[in-house]
Symmetry: C2
């Protein structure tokens, strides 16, 4: 039985299949509904994404809001998730149909909160500020803010460049009274691992990026326990 589920509700740009290097599995039906795709042999990580359901991976999902909302409802109630400890929902950016549909369909469950991801520069933190306002309006707790694409250490000379400015995620957390969970640096090994279908955390346990991701997980667990 799976302990963790990941639901990808970015219907026009599903990235979970590629990010977790899952090819094109057949999604089966059982009495309880669609059987999720398992990322591991122990079936501890259950996934569902529209990317698994399209016959052609290049097919465009040209759907308006109501159809997207209905599909998200089916993903929550018609997938045989089993007994999950946690369901992570990966949303597209914004504050629209997908986000409202997730909250409506999870009403019967406990929603622990939202993890917001920004890049350091103002054009991104501005969007995430609006998402924090959305969380306040809808009564969703902000578990914390992660800063992504946060500085690049040149593998040739070890000097750090802040390609997309610096510290915007931490500043936003202070400004909004949110928890700052940590930063993930720009790391070519992280993107090449995804391109090659390699598990980054297993492959590079001594890297600075591994430590950064690990420390974000710890900070998230603390934030959850401070409920």
């Amino acid at each position: 039985m799976a302990a963790v589920g990941i639901l990808d509700v970015d219907l026009c740009g599903p990235s979970i299949p590629r990010m977790l290097s899952i090819g094109r599995p057949d999604v089966h039906q059982c009495d309880a509904g669609w059987v999720p795709v398992y990322a591991d042999a122990q079936k501890s990580l259950a996934l569902m994404s529209i990317g698994f359901l399209l016959e052609d991976p290049d097919e465009a999902v040209v759907w308006r809001g109501p159809k997207k909302s209905a599909m998200i409802g089916q993903f929550v109630s018609d997938v045989a998730w089993g007994e999950l400890d946690v369901l992570l929902v990966d949303t597209p950016p914004g504050t629209s149909d997908e986000h409202l549909a997730v909250l409506e369909n999870l009403k019967k469950h406990r929603v622990d909160g939202a993890i917001l991801v920004t890049t350091p520069q103002a054009v991104s933190t501005g969007d995430v500020r609006r998402e924090i306002t959305f969380c306040k309006k809808t009564g969703v707790r902000v578990l914390g803010i992660v800063e992504n694409m946060s500085g690049f250490v040149c593998p040739h000379c070890s000097e750090c460049s802040n390609i997309f400015s610096k510290g915007g995620g931490e500043d936003l957390a202070k400004l909004t009274g949110s928890v700052f969970l940590g930063s993930v640096p720009l790391d070519p090994l992280l993107s090449s691992s995804i391109e090659e279908g390699k598990d980054f955390m297993q492959s590079f346990p001594n890297s600075a990026t591994f430590s950064a991701i690990n420390s974000i997980s710890q900070a998230l667990l603390s934030s959850l326990q401070n409920d």
Copy 2:
């Protein structure tokens, strides 16, 4: 009279005001509708974005598809754009309400085509392939593909790192029979210019990024003339 208009239809994450360093202007009404915001004293660049209309810049636009589509209709017909040579429409990612609303509301006008922007890695080119399928389905010509975040030349040692893989945009253009318009490198000067409200093209005319953007503009003009 303005010659170029830019319409920002990313209603939940409007970035045009910030990208062009326009503060918080008052948007006025005239007999012909809303007066667009002009980026320059000569009124040659007319802008409209929901970012100009919100009283509080942190306000979340929690709108479902139909309301977003209606707003886009108003942006096309109720803004006193004047005689424009070109209207550029900046859309959010995806193939949903915003994209359909733009096409419906521009039916009476000639739509020259779509410029698609990807980053080099497969998780992004996959999304843009679906957008190319959308263009085919809806009869919109693909004017070309731009690759963004394409390689980073370290300012300390001048070595190039392909942080997000390499060549994905050009490969996608070949695969789909589209024009490849060019690549924009990762450049800290470009993001810091936006943060500081500086005009990058005026400030750094000798940079590699300036040449890259210039050559993309030339390639786009050629693509338009090959109609």
